[in-house]
């Protein structure tokens, strides 16, 4: 399975791209660790450890959504491709056995692919920083255990969700309750929930042993709860394509494809993840800022214009989801180019995210008492959304989630996205103190982003029209 995973990655982004990703993580953490003496003058080491472990837990949560994607892998995403995960359909192997092996494979793969390069970068910076080799080894253990806890928890949640959505919601609520005991209730310290972090707080090895035991327990429970049969019962739908197409008539030549995308989105059950993939990070950004400001007492002044700038940059996940629903292999024999489907997905992306974005901005404007800034925030939000979508569509086509693993593509993507993000963020900080200069700068920036978007959108045709559909 490991070999299959590696070949799959290579088929998506090429051997160089696949191999370059861990190299990039290595250098990223090397630079951060090497500059840690400067960073630690501004930030407490406990805050750095907290951020690192929370990130590892979230990464594990993302990787561990196995059971949920299991059905998708088997029935849609890979189309005609047969994965080892599909063995139980034809061979006398239990699905939970294959999923157990798949889980171990995923854990090993992502540890090798990202955790080891991350800690390796820190280890390489030992001579340049005040970090000791023993500290690096310990950090590897605690980050690894945190990642495994996140992965196990996510795996368990998705296995429970396959049996009962209500039970899964209850488990998720219990976890949220546990987190709430730390923030904002402050009845527990972070290390009492994120056990590996507890070791750093107390130096008590029991935290490490408990974390290892919990990680094993969660994954074992998930494997045991795994359903043997994934094949859903056949579903019927009254023909809705032509009627839906009429509703999207404004998209002119793309209306049939937009209608197809919309029906697939609804019927695949991806509408929820698409919405939460957009709304979640938006709420997350607000929550983190609120936490730092209210919980940690940091004087952060993020206004509604800043949040407007975040809209586009956080929409990437949504576009990525939209490209994951259907491989569209049948379109290889129809007079349709990949570029047309990319455009149809972009239309749907804007239809889905624009109302959410508007409600989000108005809500934040009202909460912060900054309604006067809303027009500027809306302009910044619109231009960043269009720009990021144009960059993503142009650079990744229908393979957003895989092509961004290609270090070359990721590098170009970051070069296109990060400078405008920094410029928008910095200019937004000036809104309260120097409104007109800030508004002029943000207006000019928005015009530039929209002009660049037009160029990028026009480039989608030449870049993708000759590509083939499929994974």
């Amino acid at each position: 399975m490991l070999r299959e995973e590696w070949r799959l990655h290579r088929s998506f982004v090429g051997a160089v791209g696949s191999g370059f990703f861990p190299v990039m993580i290595f250098f990223f953490s090397l630079v951060l660790a090497a500059t840690s003496p400067v960073l630690l003058r501004k930030m407490d080491v406990s805050l750095v450890l907290l951020v690192l472990h929370v990130s590892a837990a979230l990464y594990g949560l993302g990787v561990g959504a196995l059971a949920q994607i299991g059905e998708q892998v088997m029935t849609r995403r890979l189309g005609q491709v047969n994965m080892l995960l599909q063995l139980p359909a034809l061979q006398p192997v239990r699905f939970r056995t294959v999923m157990g092996v798949f889980y171990v494979k995923d854990a090993v793969f992502y540890i090798l692919y990202s955790i080891i390069p991350l800690v390796g970068g820190i280890a390489a910076a030992v001579p340049l920083s005040r970090i000791t080799p023993g500290g690096v080894a310990l950090l590897f253990v605690t980050v690894l255990l945190t990642f495994m806890l996140g992965m196990g928890l996510s795996f368990l949640l998705s296995a429970v969700a396959l049996r009962s959505r209500a039970a899964a919601a209850a488990v998720a609520l219990a976890i949220a309750g546990l987190v709430a005991l730390v923030w904002p209730l402050r009845l527990l310290v972070p290390g009492q929930v994120l056990l590996p972090l507890g070791y750093w707080e107390t130096q008590n090895s029991l935290y490490l042993l408990s974390a290892a035991a919990f990680a094993l327990l969660l994954s074992a429970a998930a494997v045991l709860l795994m359903k043997e049969r994934f094949a859903p019962p056949g579903r019927r739908f009254r023909g809705a394509l032509l009627e839906t197409e009429r509703r999207f008539a404004f998209s002119k030549g793309l209306s049939a494809l937009v209608a197809k995308e919309w029906l697939e989105l609804r019927r695949s059950g991806a509408l929820g993840p698409v919405f939460s993939g957009f709304l979640g990070p938006l709420l997350g950004v607000y929550a983190v800022i609120w936490l730092f400001r209210s919980g940690l007492g940091l004087p952060l002044e993020f206004n509604v214009v800043f949040y407007g700038g975040m809209l586009g940059f956080l929409g990437l996940m949504t576009y990525s989801w939209l490209t994951n629903i259907e491989p569209n292999e049948f379109l290889n024999v129809q007079p349709v180019g990949v570029d047309e489907v990319v455009r149809a997905k972009l239309v749907l992306y804007f239809l889905l995210t624009t109302p959410v974005s508007l409600v989000y901005l108005v809500a934040i404007g009202a909460l912060n008492g900054e309604c006067a800034y809303l027009p500027l925030a809306a302009l910044v939000g619109l231009s960043t959304m269009v720009y990021v979508a144009a960059v993503t569509g142009r650079m990744t086509g229908l393979r957003a989630n895989t092509m961004l693993f290609d270090a070359a593509v990721l590098g170009r993507f970051a070069a296109a996205i990060v400078p405008p993000l920094i410029a928008v963020t910095l200019a937004s900080f000036l809104v309260r103190t120097a409104f007109w200069p800030a508004a002029a700068a943000l207006g000019a920036l928005s015009v530039c982003l929209l002009a660049a978007s037009r160029y990028l959108l026009a480039g989608i045709g030449p870049r993708w029209s000759r590509s083939a559909f499929g994974i």
Binding site: E326, F330, V333
Partner: protein, 248 residues
């Protein structure tokens, strides 16, 4: 008037040469069969002719268009690919409607009803394509290739997964297509069907056309069946290098 021509066509995948010096011509109104063992290069050739793949060298023309105009080619022809893969979350009816709308053909409802009826899929019209059986999915792919009544049909193993009733029904339909002056280019392993239907055949082996012409032209002895011809050309070539008549 040829609707398909290739000259010295070649295609490489890394070190592997999938097609070598393929030259053939298919005239309007012909029922042309392409035969060859697994991995001979049939699907590669079909993908080049249908604008899905660019050749490494040589020239190809389908309905007067080259591989540099894939949308133009696909607009003019009907294609059944080697593997059936209709859209996962559209129903059979919606799949055909989508194809009609993409191809901008009139009378969508009537056409869809006709082809659902032809393949006896009326009671499956509201079922998601992913929940259809393999045979039903193949029927949906065939209907999607026929629905705009193109001048040229390029079919890669069209009879696969069809029961004998629909094999016969498809055979009769394709004979009617050719009788009406349209053209069929078909790859198939079912030699019995090829022998019954095709007016001309080509045999491809290891990326080369090893024989091409009417059945009478590539027979070595009176009464030699297509299966014998195929075995001689493919196995004989492997064993003692004695091929059939040269391509041309």
């Amino acid at each position: 008037m040829p609707v398909i021509t290739t000259e010295g066509l070649g295609r490489r995948f890394g070190d592997f040469e999938a097609l070598r010096e393929v030259s053939l011509s298919v005239e309007k109104g012909e029922f042309f069969g392409l035969l060859g063992p697994n991995g001979a290069g049939k699907t590669t050739l079909v993908r080049i002719l249908t604008g899905q793949l660019e050749p490494s060298r040589g020239r190809a023309s389908t309905m007067g268009m080259g591989p540099d105009d894939p949308i133009g080619i696909k607009r003019r022809i009907g294609i059944v690919p080697e593997a059936e893969s209709p859209p996962t979350f559209l129903t059979a009816q919606e799949f055909l409607e989508l194809v009609c709308r993409i191809r901008e053909v009139p009378d969508v409802g009537a056409r869809v009803d006709r082809w659902l009826g032809f393949f006896q899929l009326e009671d499956k019209r509201d079922v998601l394509c992913r929940d259809l059986s393999k045979g039903q999915r193949q029927k949906a792919m065939l209907a999607a290739a026929f629905i705009h009544e193109p001048e040229l049909l390029i079919l890669d193993e069209p009879f696969i997964n069809l029961d004998p009733i629909f094999q016969r029904r498809l055979r009769e339909y394709l004979q009617g297509v050719v009788a009406g002056g349209r053209t069929v280019f078909m790859c198939s392993h079912i030699l019995e069907i090829v022998e019954k239907l095709c007016t001309r055949v080509a045999v491809i082996h290891q990326g080369r056309i090893v024989a091409q012409g009417k059945l009478d032209q590539i027979r070595q002895t009176e009464g030699e069946g297509l299966e014998d011809i195929f075995m001689r050309l493919v196995e004989g070539r492997n064993g003692d290098a004695c091929g059939g008549r040269p391509a041309g």
